[in-house]
């Protein structure tokens, strides 16, 4: 446990000192801000009309200005934005050791490699959880400031858990990003993988296989009440879990045994 705490402390320090942490907070905070802006425009059609283009876009995305729609957009944004941002975080946490050539400093230590990899995964999980909580809190604040109609305690609770579920599922797709960052020794391969899976997720949804394609599941879940509602079932969670386990196992195995010749 001591070794894990030390490794986690090291990972947390690296993240704290990096501008990446602030950057991700800033990027993810945009989501509730933009969502709130849409609600504001929808609530004030005169002003919205004066703004022309923004009004048209706001209606396409949101429709009506109420709390259910507001949360729905927040959820969908988390699924899409999270897929990119979480991949960015994972790519940074794992890829930086190669990019900064620090990998060779953490391979032959009393702290086992597996513990270091574990600490990296826990850090990414904590980071993503923090961001998800942050946008929910900011979202609530902005929603209240805009004074959106249709508030209910029940809706807030169910939306919170839906957001956490989408964030969790998105996180569970990240170990393969970590694996690509490790095998590819840097940032580009994992980000390439993330964008590829995003594109494939859209194709799977169009083909009607979205519920079976792990990378489509968070997006489908977040738009269940929308026009693209598809049956998310236990099988969808199982495929995500399988990808999670496979990604974790592949990343640990690679760190344990791959040649570190560079």
């Amino acid at each position: 446990m001591n070794a894990f705490l030390s490794a986690f402390w090291a990972e947390a320090l690296k993240a704290r000192r990096s501008k990446v942490s602030l950057l991700t907070v800033a990027a993810f905070s945009l989501l509730p801000i933009v969502d709130g802006l849409f609600m504001f425009i929808l609530k004030n059609p005169e002003r919205a009309r004066a703004m022309g283009l923004i009004n048209a876009k706001a209606q396409i995305t949101a429709g009506v200005a109420d709390w259910p729609t507001y949360f729905q957009v927040l959820l969908l944004g988390t699924a899409i934005g999270g897929a990119i941002l979480f991949a960015f975080i994972t790519a940074w946490v794992f890829g930086r050791e190669f990019s900064d050539h620090t990998i060779k400093e953490i391979l032959a230590l009393p702290t086992p490699r597996g513990v270091i990899v574990g600490a990296k995964f826990v850090l990414t999980a904590a980071w993503m959880l923090g961001l998800s909580l942050l946008i929910f809190v900011i979202g609530l604040g902005i929603g209240m400031a805009v004074d959106i109609p249709g508030w209910s305690q029940e809706l807030v609770e169910s939306s919170f858990w839906s957001l956490m579920l989408v964030a969790l599922l998105t996180f569970m797709l990240m170990p393969f990003v970590a694996w690509f960052a490790s095998v590819g020794r840097g940032y580009l391969p994992p980000l390439g993988w993330a964008f590829l899976t995003m594109a494939l997720a859209q194709i799977a949804i169009v083909l009607g296989w979205g519920d079976w394609f792990p990378w489509s599941v968070p997006g489908l879940l977040s738009s269940l009440n929308g026009p693209r509602a598809e049956p998310i079932g236990m099988h969808s969670y199982v495929v995500v879990l399988l990808v999670f386990v496979a990604g974790i196992a592949a990343t640990f195995a690679w760190w344990q045994s791959a040649d570190q010749a560079r």
Binding site: L109, D259, A261
Partner: protein, 303 residues
Amino acid sequence: MNFAVETNGLSKSFGKVRAIDSVSLRVGQGEIYGFLGLNGAGKTTTIRALLGMIRPSAGAVRVLGQAVGPNGRGPWRRVGHLVERPAAYPELTVRENLEIARRLQGIPDRDTTSRIIERLGLASYAARKAGGLSTGNLQRLGLARALLHEPELLILDEPANGLDPAGVVEIRELLASLAREKGVTVFMSSHILTEVDRLATRIGIIHKGNLLEELEAEKLEELRSQRLEIKAHNLEAAQCALTQAGYAVKVSGSTLLLYEARAIEAPDEVATILVNAGAPPTRLAVEQEMLEDYFLRLTGGKE
């Protein structure tokens, strides 16, 4: 005998490239072992194998009596290492980089970091971000990390890289004192022969992945050939007189070189011949072959 480092038939191939081939070396406890080789000879690959960072294609590695890897297994609490150019987290200060190392080494004493910062002369840089350090100070940071946990064995890849001349001497003295006073074993690679020559008690020479020779440092002194170097105002007359006296004379710029034992053992006779020929020497000295020349002679012969 217990060896601090022991490899048996260690080989590593990357695709079709054989980086090291059947390297079997032994480093005794308390020795300073200089691992010499040109760039690309296989030094770093060997060091990575010693540290379990690569899986040998064949052969085995034991460090401090323990088999190394796979899965990163090894006596790493007792080993300090520096592989290639040192790396550090650029946005972290020198102290923070060392704090990470301290925690990952499992050292509870917080003062350890301050002590090593002082010892490596990094005090004035402790609060500076590693990304802004000079190559020399980055090297010091790497050495500080290697020495932080007071290891029994140091595996150092080109430890003098990037250091200024004063720094080179300082690190040399530090390593020598660690070996002398604390019995620390040092395995250090280098392509700079004089650096190894001044510090190592034993030397291994690697070339194109093969360990060509392992010898005591004193033995290396003996093996380096000697020669008599002669300078004179009238170089042609001097060369002519020596050739007539039966010496095999080589000319190198404005210097005549004699490699024969009778010249090296009796330079006075050579001087007499030159004086009698009206070409007295302005310089007459028995010189040992440059270490570089010896090394190139050895490696060149095995092309």
